[in-house]
């Protein structure tokens, strides 16, 4: 289920004095099974772009074609498309509404008019995938959940629709480190085991560097970089210039490199950094 975007432009509040162009002439292609990170400073248009992937927004100009279906086509079955392209919002409170966790997760499949047993199976499977214990949480009150559990319930609610593509819009924002880690593990597992195409919008460079194979950098509604994760982070200076931060490891390695260490331009994990720094020290290349 590839996504093909061709010269997409979009303006908010079109035709009013507040009209603002959010996306300018964006073209990109997302293949099956990819893990794509979308980063960019606030107001760069990340969410607006992502909401085009499942036809929550219809292009102002240009086209979005998902699985050979143009989202602007009047005859397109957008409801079916949205089941195939899941979207998890940043704030789970916008999504959760049913009295219990189980009922809320069942909401998506119920909209597909599936038989009851199938719905129950899917709820159980989705809960298992996000690590919410079925017996404990099925009848749990939505309001009795912690922040991290709410996010997981929200993800399960989308997973129960059995999407082939999953868009995660800043789903770790505002969580404590423990909650973050749990969510990341769930996402990683889904991608590797279920081979779900994952589009991950985030403000955390650490997460994107760790998770994504490919990164799309947006700035002021345009694609600044679209490349393999490592190659994107080679443009460290430019990223900082547009108001992004570097992954924490890299903020250390770039400073070491400035101090005379011979390190690669992009270092994405702590292990990599440790190896590279150790190699430097052994060779004694660093003058004190």
């Amino acid at each position: 289920m590839p996504i093909e975007i061709n010269k997409l432009s979009y303006s908010y509040k079109k035709g009013t004095p507040f009209e603002k162009q959010v996306l300018k002439d964006i073209s990109l292609f997302i293949r099956d099974g990819e893990f794509v990170g979308i980063i960019g400073p606030t107001q760069a248009g990340k969410t607006t772009l992502a909401q085009h992937f499942n036809a929550l927004l219809i292009p102002g100009k240009g086209s979005v074609v998902v699985n050979a279906m143009n989202t602007a086509d009047k005859k397109a079955d957008l409801v079916k498309l949205r089941h195939n392209v899941g979207y998890v919002f940043q704030n789970p409170d916008y999504q959760l509404f049913a009295p219990t966790v189980g009922e809320d997760i069942a909401f998506g499949p119920r909209n597909q008019n599936l038989p009851t047993e199938e719905i129950e199976d899917r709820v159980a499977e989705a809960m298992d995938q996000v690590g919410l214990d079925y017996d404990t949480f099925y009848k749990r009150d939505i309001f009795a959940l912690s922040g991290g559990q709410k996010r997981r319930a929200a993800i399960a609610g989308v997973l129960a629709c059995k999407p082939q593509i999953m868009i995660l819009d800043d789903v770790t924002a505002g969580l404590d480190p423990g909650g973050r880690e749990e969510i990341i593990k769930v996402i990683q597992k889904l991608h590797t085991e279920k081979e779900i195409t994952t589009i991950y919008i985030s403000n955390s460079m650490d997460e994107v560097a760790m998770l994504a194979d490919r990164i799309i950098v947006l700035d002021q509604g345009q694609v600044l970089f679209d490349d393999q994760t490592r190659d994107v982070f080679l443009h460290a200076r430019k990223l900082i210039e547009i108001g992004l931060e570097l992954p924490e490891v890299m903020s250390i390695t770039t400073r070491l490199a400035e101090a005379g260490f011979d390190l690669p331009g992009a270092v994405l994990s702590i292990e990599e950094a440790v190896d590279a720094i150790a190699a430097n020290l052994q060779q004694g290349q660093v003058k004190d």
């Binding site: 908010y12 499942n54 927004l57 949205r82 919002f89 409170d93 999504q95 959760l96 509404f97 909401f107």
Partner: protein
């Protein structure tokens, strides 16, 4: 899909025009006078004159007329319904029947009544929209409060009342933005708001309104905490950073509104009401 696009009530369109720079009190009083006038207008001529004034104000304030009226779009079905009700249900003993169908019959009296009432609602909406489009929330608050101050003597909590009103106005937009996100979140799980019969359609609103209400309460609570954290204790002893003062422009505007009112009252007295 954008819900906030058509909301003009409570939105401030920044500008540096003659209208924008008027003292908020002048604008509020002027709006109040115009609204009062509207309640007594019963002739098409008076409405035509009124329309001229509205257009003149829009031009001076450089508000695109299309935008000022776009806020009416969501209200249109209600307006049409109201018009139809008047058309078919209102009648006077000497009214002439224009159309008659089954048990319904439309009279010329009903037609005029429908027209007048729709226009009244339209103009009421436009006047208030212009007020908020040209006046920032802060100066609107200051203006209202200062106008209500004399009533403090008889025990009216003017500051609190104004604060409540302003918060309500502000929340229109916030809630609309939130509604937009909630609708999208549920659409993402395959809700089709336009499918099915009446009961199914009504049912599909639950997943939208429940989170909306819950979030609204949450927001209200957060706002209370934020206000209390900054020691808000109501209007008593509160001072202002900016003090209001009226200038010559306000005098002109006031005189103009008075002249206009005189004209409208003249028309009301001279031209016989259509109904």
């Amino acid at each position: 899909m954008e819900l906030t696009k058509n909301i003009t009530l409570g939105v401030y369109l920044p500008g540096e025009t003659y209208i924008h720079n008027l003292d908020p009190r002048t604008k509020i009083i002027a709006a109040a006078i115009l609204i009062t006038l509207l309640l007594f207008i019963k002739s098409y001529l008076a409405y035509a004159i009124f329309l001229f004034l509205i257009i003149a104000i829009l031009v001076i304030a450089t508000i695109p007329p299309g935008y000022a009226f776009s806020g009416l779009k969501p209200m249109l079905p209600i307006l049409v319904l109201m018009w139809l009700f008047q058309l078919f249900l209102y009648s006077t003993p000497d009214a002439e029947v224009i159309v008659s169908w089954w048990i319904f019959s439309a009279t010329d009296a009903g037609l005029h009544m429908g027209n007048l009432i729709s226009m009244r609602v339209l103009f009421l909406f436009t006047v208030t929209t212009i007020l908020t489009l040209t006046t920032s929330i802060v100066s609107l608050t200051d203006g209202l409060e200062s106008l209500l101050n004399p009533l403090k003597k008889i025990g009216l909590p003017s500051q609190e009342l104004v604060m409540t009103m302003i918060i309500a106005l502000r929340f229109v937009l916030i809630l609309a933005e939130e509604l937009d996100k909630i609708i999208k979140a549920q659409m993402a799980r395959g809700v089709a708001f336009d499918r099915g019969n009446f009961i199914q359609k009504t049912k599909s609103l639950f997943p939208v309104f429940l989170p909306l209400f819950i979030n609204a309460f949450k927001r209200a609570e957060e706002l209370i905490v934020a206000m209390e954290a900054r020691s808000y204790t109501g209007g008593k002893g509160r001072t202002k950073m900016k003090t209001l003062h009226m200038g010559r422009v306000d005098l002109f505007a006031g005189l103009f509104i008075l002249l206009f009112s005189a004209l409208i009252i003249y028309v009301i007295l001279i031209v016989p009401p259509v109904i």
